[in-house]
Symmetry: D2
């Protein structure tokens, strides 16, 4: 089928290739004219046959909101917008309401898989009305991994549910990475296990902890066995924070995922103000020596 695709960055570019390979017709738009098929969103809309399907794959927040507003002007009743970026699920409800005023349909899709999705296919979680999702199914089938549809695609619920599922997915991802990372650090810190990379590689088949992330850790350790070329500095992109906020809204204890988020926060601090306060307290009550900033 025919698809308009807005956003041809790291993810969108790969997705276009995967869609092409599956025989779909993709008209792509990107701010970068070198990769764009069309000079503007308005042109993209004109090039598509109605009823149109347009997939958004651009940064969440303002860029996505502006694109939705532009699409609400350009598209017609019965057209369908699929928001495949990392929008917060609450934005989906706003987006869908705006488009619904013009009779334009809306589906949100959480997309997982990173740069590997081009080859392996992406895990997809969709939110919206069944008929809208059914209409886009050929696209989803092309993007998801080959094999059973149910293992790489779900209709998670109404509008917002796709990104909600992706948000939780990413929260889990934070926790999984933190667990592996803690184990790695303990193995490296103690001197009992003398071959840490080989030990971790031996977990990749047969064990309870085998996973794709573990395979990636093995790859990383093959390139740099002590990870000495990296800094322990980790960004966070939103979904982890939203997961904790939602866990608070729903009174769900999420200590492992939260500890992963906090570890990222701490990784970006030059020095910890909280630990300064503890050092100051110990100095006050016990005369414990402290390290001054000049040390």
């Amino acid at each position: 089928m025919q698809l308009g695709l807005i956003g041809l960055g790291k993810m969108g570019f790969n997705m276009r290739a995967r869609l092409h390979a599956a025989g779909h017709e993709v008209v792509g738009y990107d701010r970068n004219p070198e990769v764009s098929d069309t000079p503007s969103i308005a042109d993209l809309v004109r090039e598509l046959r109605g009823p149109r399907v347009v997939w958004l794959m651009i940064p969440h927040g303002d860029p996505t909101r502006r694109a939705i507003e532009e699409l609400s002007d350009e598209l017609d009743t019965g057209d369908l917008v699929i928001e495949g970026g990392n929008s917060r699920f609450t934005d989906d409800q706003t987006n869908a309401a705006l488009l619904a005023e013009k009779g334009i349909k809306y589906v949100d899709v959480g997309v997982s898989g990173g740069v590997w999705g081009a080859e392996n296919g992406y895990g997809l979680m969709a939110g919206g009305d069944s008929e809208d999702i059914e209409r886009a199914m050929p696209i989803f089938d092309a993007l998801r991994p080959d094999g059973e549809r149910e293992k790489g695609f779900a209709h998670a619920g109404p509008v917002g549910a796709g990104h909600y599922a992706k948000m939780v997915h990413n929260g889990i991802e934070y926790g999984l990475m933190q667990a592996y990372a803690e184990g790695f650090e303990l193995l490296a810190a103690s001197d009992v296990v003398t071959d840490v990379p080989a030990t971790i590689k031996a977990w990749t088949e047969g064990t309870v902890v085998r996973s794709w992330l573990l395979d990636l850790l093995v790859r990383a350790l093959e390139e740099d066995p002590e990870l000495e070329e990296l800094q322990g500095y980790v960004s966070d992109s939103g979904e982890g924070r939203w997961t904790i906020e939602e866990s608070i809204n729903n009174a769900v204890p999420t200590p492992a995922i939260t500890s992963a988020l906090f570890a990222r926060f701490a990784s970006r601090q030059e020095d910890s103000p909280a630990m300064k306060a503890v050092a100051a307290l110990r100095n006050q009550f016990g005369g414990h020596s402290v390290r001054s900033s000049d040390d």
Copy 2:
């Protein structure tokens, strides 16, 4: 090759089958005469040709210690004991020293894979001298998954390193399960995602969080979509505790794994004494209503 196998429970029984299938000769002993090939450890030793290899697969602590003592009496110089149970790595050093007095060799092996190992093979982490490990390699090759040896087996270091690696593996396992469990609870608690089992199933291919544990969660949800037939009561078997103790000994922060352990502790409490204390404090300072034990 020929192997003496002490302990034919859930794990040992399956391992014997896998070794048989690979053409090895196994003389098994178990307290349960219905599954045992031989009436006693002493008989088992007599049935083996020297230099013997004896694998222990029984509960750690006292049972393993007693078996090691008996083997130190029965075995001869040059024989090899492989402790494949869940011993603490510090016990391995004691065991090896005791056997070394008689010239008996010792290798410790952490074995992962649960009941699925019979079919898939087990992930193995071994500690000991290279020549001892090399000698038992046909056994390891039969037990580990088919495929590259390095993906299911590692010589992790000297005596103790195998169980140390398994301990950390299990600590990671706690953290991974906690992360999935928190995500599951959040999906179930919020009402945005309406089909939780389908959503989790859609993570099994293509996504960043795909893993064997996730496959098992999908299986569990297929059997009981809301897990309503289970209690949230979780035991812990030692390795998780040891992992935290070792993280403390090595000053390694392990918040995610620790939160998983504490969640298990809490799952087994009828009521939380700490939360009683918080309730008592709030009542004292704010006159906040509390629930009495009679409510």
Copy 3:
């Protein structure tokens, strides 16, 4: 001076008494006519001499918002509203903007001290313009503990800062209570210390952990030495949640306060869905026995 006081519940009632004792004139309004001095907010406003000062001490959220709206109709330019309830700091900015349209001033005050404040005085944290805060200072001086003003009152910053400070205060309070509670539980669970209440009482003078909360814990244990008359069921009122949300917004790791919030969430669960998921996973991979809901 003269003050209008809206809300004569547990806190407002005591505050009126303390203000009376200091010689101030208080016109109080409450929905409950038995404690109210005046039949309506409109009447309360009419009874006050301009420029008026009106203190709000009612539940945050909708009730406070409605009262602010009513006051914006009834009050005149130059009047001052003090929001002393537990509003979220972001609400203060909305409230102040609404009132500013009419030239009405706004100060937010966080009030701590619980039911003991009537006797001991309340700790106060105020946000707003200096001249507005100065104008209300006789009220603040009457409400705060006797002694140095700086030990019981602060002008924390602009509008919102008073409630922000109170929010963080409450977050800390969660953490402090959790720390004492964990220590209490450990003392009670181990059998080494045989007189737990006496041990905790011995901490009330001289030690590093002495505090007012500890004094309250001693009182609670004097009434019920094993806290056996209470359930470990703890509510949370908003400030703890907002503290974590703000810590996330500011990328500040707050693991102790967060663990206190999560412990409260868990205290209110009949059973933990997350722990059901962990039990299900262990059953899947290891054939570990689980407890069914019927057990």
Copy 4:
């Protein structure tokens, strides 16, 4: 009464002064001849009239063990040793057994109060037999704060209970400091509260969070309002670790105290190996940019 005091460091020196002030006779020994009253432990024993009471106030572990061994040689049946240092409670049981072979009595005392104890008195928690504790009561009364005995002294239980109580006390102390420190950091990181030191000072009277530690934080902020002269580098001295180990042994969830310990561990790391692993994973799956060690 007469007391032998071994160890005249920061704590012992102050305690001797406080005992002198109360009219007790103290014979002190220290490795440092400038503060010692006597050249050796043997001389100290000879200078004391029997039945003797000797108080140990030296570093725990080897130094205390060696002193106990020497005292077991030098003291006589009926003499009493009081171990007032920071021994692990399990060491007390060993110490008591060793001394009991000679008929020498043993009491362990946890001492809290830091350098302020000289002036304020120390909080004391004692373990041992009632008659031994009664015998030393004049010493305890001189060391504890003036006022009710029960507010600064407890007979916590049998041998070991004093140090167990002190261990838990210190665990709580870790948690309390962490809670204040997190709140401080959040106030400092957000820009809503513009006068952080004044705000924290306003908590010292009337509020729920008032405590001695808070008073010390106010002092620290008066000396250095942004704590910019300190590094966020915090040692830990044993009791925090033991508290977590005991919480694990007793299956008691202690997330707040544990998070405080882990924050100290992290404060001493130049870079976090765990966070390197997370950075490596993100780079592997998403091509997320990382910071190299050269950046």
